[in-house]
Structure formats: structure tokens, C-alpha cells
């Protein structure tokens, strides 16, 4: 008797535990909560709340706070909740985790290279054509923003874009006997000046690095969209469905890139905590990087005496790589028409030329709208001018999977540097891997 009572008590507890355990299961995100329906009815007079997410980066948070304030003043019936507490490294994980939990943003900021994966996953909703006509995007935005069209459909739009340019350390150039007022403007000059600028101590250890190639930083972009084109090739077919950089021109570009590490030995990517930190720390003469690095330098080494010029040209070809953080509407926003309208309005506002002008002031990224980007004052800016000049000839690579496609080039570089693989074979392997990733993306759609 006593035994059975104990048994009943324990069973009840176990059932309770299992019920608790089962709870998360039915909370499927697709099911609209009952209160959402009533909210919709009352939406006309009530304030609509939408949620906006971006990763934590102080300047971006401040700029967006200001934009939201301006937007809310114009639209008193819309309230934007700004979530920027997520560290960069966790941003994608948090977004991914938010969906099954049924929460998350209506408008989210993502790297343009992630678009494919997010669209594939059904997370992004196409931007409505009446609010964002394709012709408007074509006319008003920097050409690189075309990468936001996936198979002809526009999914995202940016406030600002970035391009690559060449940073140079004036003090190191001067110390090496180079003229800091004539930094390298061609690939040949970059090669010569990098060699000249490199300094070693008595034990043959590098003290000053002329130029460091690190494909895991920006140099994989520099190779694909800049060097390959300058040596007479194209990195991919026009629709970015076919890899084309594994031809003769590509190989020349590849050998140029490798030469800094192999025959010229102007730098070592493992020294001083990587090429970027090495430049910011004042150990490197020349460095290919994006406009976003200006902020890093201002924060970490404000006294460094450096300049920025457009990327060196070759064979009369100028090119640069453009990339951008872009804003998309999520499927959560699409679930509720009132919220979707509010999200569209918000997206229109933060992608306006006005927003771009505010953004460049605070964040230092270039306005995505050409009107603001071609501002003479901006072009004349000592540091930002070189990046702004690149806006008209910048290419943004369409990525099926940015991290894997980058890894393909890093691995090819490592094959040559670490295992003495033949450069041509290594490049061929990279092209094969890259092509596989592109094919998989096409067939999965």
C-alpha cells in the first residue's frame, strides 16, 4: 500500500517532468500566437512595434540610434526596438537560434555575402517592388549593390558600403628612404617599394614588414576582384555561376600574390598577430584593407602617421572589391501586414541618401547611394577619398557561401606556402572547390 503511494507520487513527478520537457516542442515558430491576431485588429490606432537587430559595434549602434530617433519622430505610430547587444562572432548563431524560439528581428542587418544562405533558408522576404523598384536601385545605388539581387529578385538594401584601398605607413616609408608623398600607384611599384621598406635585424628576423599577404584577411578579395582583372582575366562568369580565375591570367595574378611570401619575403602573416594587427601596430609599410579599418586605427593607434590611396593599378586597369552590410526583411515581419508595412517604411528610411550621409559621419562607411557617395567633400577627404573613388569601379563578389569560398583560397595559399605545392595545382584545387560550392548552391535551389 505504502509502496504504491510512493510509486504514484513518483510517476506523477515523472509525468510532470516529461510534460515540461515536451513544452518546447509545440512552440513552433510558424504558428501565430493568438494575441498577434487581436493586435492586428487594433493596429490602426495603436503603436506598431518592430524589432531591428544588428551586431554590436559602437559606431554602428550610435548611428542607428540616431536614425531610429529621426524615424520615430516622422512616424509616431511606429516604435523600433533596437537590439545591438550581440557580439559579432555570435550574431549568426543568435539569429539562427531566435527563429525556432519564435522571436527575433523584423529588419535584420547581415553581411551581403550571407544573403544566399539566409534566402536559401527561407529567412528573408523579397523586398516589395512598389517600395523598392529595381530601376531605382540601379540608378541611385552604387553598382556593387546589384549583388543584392539574387536570381533577379531584390532581397536586401544597404545604408552604406565599403571598398578596399591601399594603406601606407608614412613614417616607415620615410625611415626606409622612400618618399611618403609618392606611395605605390602600380603593382610594380608596390613590389619594389615593399622590398625596399622591409627591414630585418641581425638574426634575420623581420622588424618592419614591407607588405604582408594574408588571404584570410582582405587579400582573397583583392586576388579575385582586383588582381585577376588587372592581369587580364575575370574571376567568375557574369552570373557568378562559373569559376574562371584558374586560367593563364589568374595564374599570373596568383603568382604575383604569392611572390610577396615566397621570393620577395616582404612579410610573414603569422608575425605580430596577423597582417591587419601588424599594420595597425605600426610594423607594416603597405596594407590592403577596407574603409572600416580607419576606425580601428583611430581607436588603437591614433598617432600613427599613415595615408590611404586607391589600390595600385596594372595594365591600365583599376579595380577594387566592394562589400556591404545590408538590411533585409525577415519572414517574421511578413507574417503580419501591419508590421510588414512598418518594416518597409523603416527600411526605406535607413537606406535613404540622408541616412547614408549620417552614417558616413559617424561610422566612416561610404554612403550606398551614389548621390551621397559622389559628394565632392567626401572625395576630397584625405582618408575616405580613396575609398569613395573606388565606388564607381568596385565589384562585389556574389558568394554562395562566403566563408567556404574564402577557405578555398586560404587552403590553396597554405598548400603553396606550407607544403610547397605547385602554385598552378593549388589554384586549380581552389577553383575546383569553389566551383563545387557554387554548383551545390545552384542545385539546392
Amino acid at each position: 500500500m505504502k509502496q504504491s503511494k510512493l510509486f504514484i507520487l513518483l510517476s506523477a513527478l515523472l509525468v510532470a517532468a516529461l510534460l515540461l520537457a515536451a513544452c518546447p516542442a509545440p512552440a513552433a515558430p510558424a504558428e501565430p500566437a493568438p494575441e498577434a491576431v487581436s493586435q492586428e485588429a487594433a493596429a490602426a490606432e495603436e503603436v506598431i512595434e518592430i524589432e531591428y537587430w544588428q551586431y554590436n559595434f559602437a559606431a554602428r549602434v550610435e548611428a542607428m540610434d540616431q536614425l531610429i530617433q529621426m524615424f520615430e519622430e516622422e512616424n509616431p505610430n511606429i516604435k523600433v526596438i533596437h537590439n545591438a547587444d550581440i557580439p559579432y562572432a555570435e550574431f549568426r548563431d543568435k539569429i539562427a537560434a531566435s527563429v525556432p524560439a519564435g522571436v527575433g528581428p523584423d529588419v535584420a542587418t547581415l553581411f551581403y555575402g550571407w544573403q544566399s544562405a539566409w534566402i536559401d533558408a527561407g529567412y528573408l522576404t523579397p523586398l516589395p517592388e512598389d517600395a523598392f523598384p529595381p530601376s531605382m536601385v540601379e540608378e541611385q545605388f552604387s553598382p556593387m549593390v546589384q549583388a543584392s539581387f539574387v536570381d533577379g529578385t531584390l532581397y536586401t538594401l544597404p545604408t552604406a558600403v565599403r571598398t578596399l584601398a591601399l594603406f601606407y605607413n608614412k613614417d616607415l616609408m620615410e625611415a626606409a628612404g622612400l618618399d611618403p608623398n609618392s606611395p605605390p600607384s602600380s603593382l610594380g611599384a608596390l613590389r619594389d617599394q615593399a622590398v625596399h621598406c622591409t627591414q630585418r635585424d641581425d638574426d634575420d628576423n623581420l622588424v618592419v614588414e614591407g607588405f604582408v599577404v594574408d588571404p584570410s584577411a582582405q587579400d582573397h578579395h583583392w586576388f579575385r576582384e582586383v588582381l585577376v582583372r588587372q592581369f587580364g582575366g575575370v574571376p567568375y562568369s557574369d552570373d557568378y555561376g562559373e569559376v574562371l580565375y584558374n586560367d593563364e591570367a589568374g595564374l599570373q595574378a596568383w603568382n604575383y600574390l604569392l611572390s610577396f611570401h615566397t621570393e620577395l619575403a616582404t612579410g610573414d602573416r603569422d608575425l605580430f598577430d596577423g597582417s591587419t594587427n601588424a599594420f595597425v601596430g605600426g610594423h607594416v609599410c603597405f596594407h590592403v584593407d577596407g574603409s572600416f579599418r580607419l576606425g580601428t586605427i583611430a581607436n588603437n593607434n591614433p598617432d600613427m602617421n599613415f595615408g590611404v590611396i586607391e589600390l595600385p593599378e596594372h595594365n591600365g586597369v583599376k579595380s577594387t572589391f566592394g562589400s556591404y552590410w545590408t538590411h533585409g526583411l525577415t519572414k517574421k515581419a511578413a507574417e503580419d501586414p501591419a508590421r510588414f508595412d512598418a518594416a518597409v517604411k523603416f527600411l526605406q528610411f535607413i537606406t535613404s541618401a540622408e541616412a547614408g550621409a549620417l552614417w558616413v559621419e559617424i561610422v566612416g562607411e561610404l554612403p550606398a547611394q551614389l548621390e551621397a557617395g559622389s559628394d565632392p567633400e567626401l572625395l576630397a577627404d584625405e582618408k575616405l577619398g580613396a575609398f569613395a573613388a573606388g565606388l564607381e569601379y568596385a565589384y562585389a563578389t556574389f558568394f554562395a557561401d562566403e566563408s567556404q569560398q574564402r577557405q578555398a583560397l586560404i587552403d590553396a595559399f597554405d598548400l603553396v606556402i606550407l607544403t610547397d605545392e605547385d602554385p598552378a595545382t593549388a589554384l586549380e584545387i581552389a577553383a575546383e572547390t569553389d566551383q563545387e560550392i557554387l554548383d551545390e548552391f545552384r542545385t539546392s535551389r
Partner: protein, 301 residues
């Protein structure tokens, strides 16, 4: 019906335990069972569900494993190498240190704390410190090599040295735990065995091989099983010590768990990641059963 004091105590014990049970069911078992389910689906993390595809994810893993320079093959073979390098060195070193610690009385507590400290330190912090020690040119280890006139080593930057370098850090980190367990085991051995052996004229060597080691067998089994499982699940050190956390250079340090993470949270292929998880689970299960079957034997005197 009146319950006796004893019965009430038992009921309360179960009540308190059920709290922990809820935790295990919700946080551990439910996701584990879900992982099996996910592995049979074309599961998309953003949609939170996906169509049932049967063995397709497993088939894809099998096909990927057959490709040249496959990440999956590298992950499984590296994981096995971490176990083969890590577990034996950890056991031998820990036993040696425990035997020495058992001899001393002075500062014994200090040494125990010193050996145990790395175990309770976050793997990320450990990884960062060791990254600095392993740095080329400026790192402490390379400076030491310079000092004694030996050539500098690339350590984690080289495809051949990276895996042993990371294994060494894992051993260093886990050593303290094994030492403490060995120490407890050594102190459990009744001193009459040693006294009897000494009277019979056995030397230290004999005593170690004939008494200490056999009587430590249960401890060795326990540490082997736990150690193997921990090396099979290696993640944080590799994530933080390989270039960009990708398990490089050239996939030389990647592990199964790292691939699970990359496939799941970077490429959003949850079904594929789930299938890898299930394979790892089966591998751990198999190895553990084999170890328990062949290593456990009762030693009686």
C-alpha cells in the same frame, strides 16, 4: 496512512532529485533525441523544421568522405589521432605525477592546486595564453629554442605540428583532474600490501608493477573512458587555436565537433550536422563499450 520518518526521507530525496531530472530531461535528453530526428531531415534552422529525407544526410557524409581533401575524413581521422596521442600521454604523465605527489608531505596541497588549476580554467583562456606561447619569433617557446641554439618551430602554424601542439595543451589542461583521481586511488591502497611485499623482499619496481598498478586498474579504466570521451569531443581549444577557428592549417586540426558546428551554424545545414553528431555519438558509444569490456577486470588479493 502514516509514513515513517525513513519513508518521508526517501520521498523527499526523490523530490529533490526530480528537480535535477527535469533539468536533464529538458536540457540534455530532449535535444539529444531531437538531434537524431534532425539527422533524418533536410532541416533548416530558419524554418525550424524540414521534410523527412531518410538516410540522405548520412549518404551525403559518406560521399563527402570519399572526396579528395575531405573535411569529414580529416575530422574523423584527426579526432582519432587526438585520442591516440592525448589519452596515453595524459595517463602516463598523471600517474607519474600522482606517484611523486603521494611521496611528499611538505607543500603537497600547493602542488595539488598547481596541477589542478588548468583544469578549472576556461579552455578559451588557456587557448589564448598558449597561442602567445606558440607565437613565431616572439613567443616564449621560440625564444627559448633560440636561446639554446635550436631552430624556431611554427607549432600551430604548420600542418604537421599543429595537431600535436594542440594535443599537448589539452593534455596539460586535463592533467590535473587525472592526477587528483590517481592520487585518491593510490591512497586507497591498504598499506599492509606494501608492508607485506617489503618483508618478502620486493623492490620498488616490483611493488609498482605488482601492487600499485593492478590495484589502480579501476581508476585507469575510469580515466581512460572519460579521457577518450573528452578527446573525442574536443572543440574549444581547436576553435581558438587554429587560424580563424577553422581547424586549419589545411584541415590538419579540425575535429568532428568543429565540423558539426561549421556545418550547422556557418552553412546552416542542420540535418547534415545532426547526422555527424549521431555518428560521433555512435563512435563514442562503441569505443566506450569496447573499453569497458576489455579494460575492466577485477583484481583481488
Amino acid at each position: 496512512m502514516r509514513l515513517t520518518l525513513r519513508q518521508r526521507q526517501i520521498i523527499w530525496a526523490y523530490v529533490f532529485m526530480s528537480v535535477a531530472l527535469v533539468f536533464f530531461v529538458v536540457i540534455r535528453w530532449y535535444p539529444t533525441i531531437l538531434a537524431f530526428n534532425v539527422s533524418f531531415r533536410d532541416w533548416n534552422v530558419f524554418e525550424g523544421s524540414g521534410p523527412w529525407v531518410g538516410m540522405e544526410n548520412y549518404q551525403e557524409i559518406w560521399e563527402d568522405a570519399g572526396k579528395p581533401r575531405s573535411s569529414v575524413t580529416a575530422a574523423f581521422s584527426n579526432t582519432v589521432r587526438y585520442v591516440l596521442f592525448g589519452v596515453p600521454s595524459q595517463l602516463v604523465l598523471a600517474l607519474g605525477i600522482a606517484l611523486l605527489l603521494a611521496q611528499i608531505r611538505r607543500l603537497a596541497a600547493f602542488f595539488r592546486v598547481a596541477y589542478f588549476a588548468p583544469y578549472v580554467t576556461s579552455a578559451v583562456a588557456v587557448a589564448f595564453v598558449w597561442n602567445w606561447l606558440y607565437q613565431p619569433e616572439t613567443g616564449l617557446l621560440n625564444q627559448a629554442l633560440d636561446l639554446v641554439g635550436l631552430p624556431q618551430q611554427p607549432f600551430t602554424k604548420s600542418p604537421t605540428q599543429a595537431l600535436p601542439s594542440i594535443t599537448a595543451v589539452a593534455v596539460w589542461q586535463n592533467l590535473g583532474f587525472a592526477v587528483i583521481i590517481f592520487l585518491a586511488g593510490i591512497q586507497q591502497i591498504p598499506s599492509i600490501y606494501y608492508e607485506a611485499a617489503r618483508i618478502d623482499g620486493a623492490n620498488s619496481w616490483h611493488i609498482f608493477w605488482r601492487i600499485t598498478l593492478p590495484l589502480l586498474n579501476p581508476i585507469i579504466v575510469y580515466l581512460t573512458v572519460l579521457g577518450t570521451i573528452s578527446y573525442l569531443r574536443l572543440f574549444a581549444l581547436v576553435q581558438n587555436m587554429s587560424p580563424q577557428g577553422t581547424g586549419g592549417p589545411l584541415k590538419s586540426t579540425t575535429t568532428v565537433v568543429l565540423e558539426v558546428y561549421r556545418e550547422g551554424f556557418s552553412s546552416y545545414k542542420m540535418g547534415y550536422a545532426g547526422a555527424l553528431t549521431v555518428l560521433l555519438f555512435l563512435l563514442i558509444l562503441l569505443i566506450t563499450i569496447v573499453q569497458l569490456r576489455f579494460l575492466s577486470r577485477r583484481v583481488e588479493y
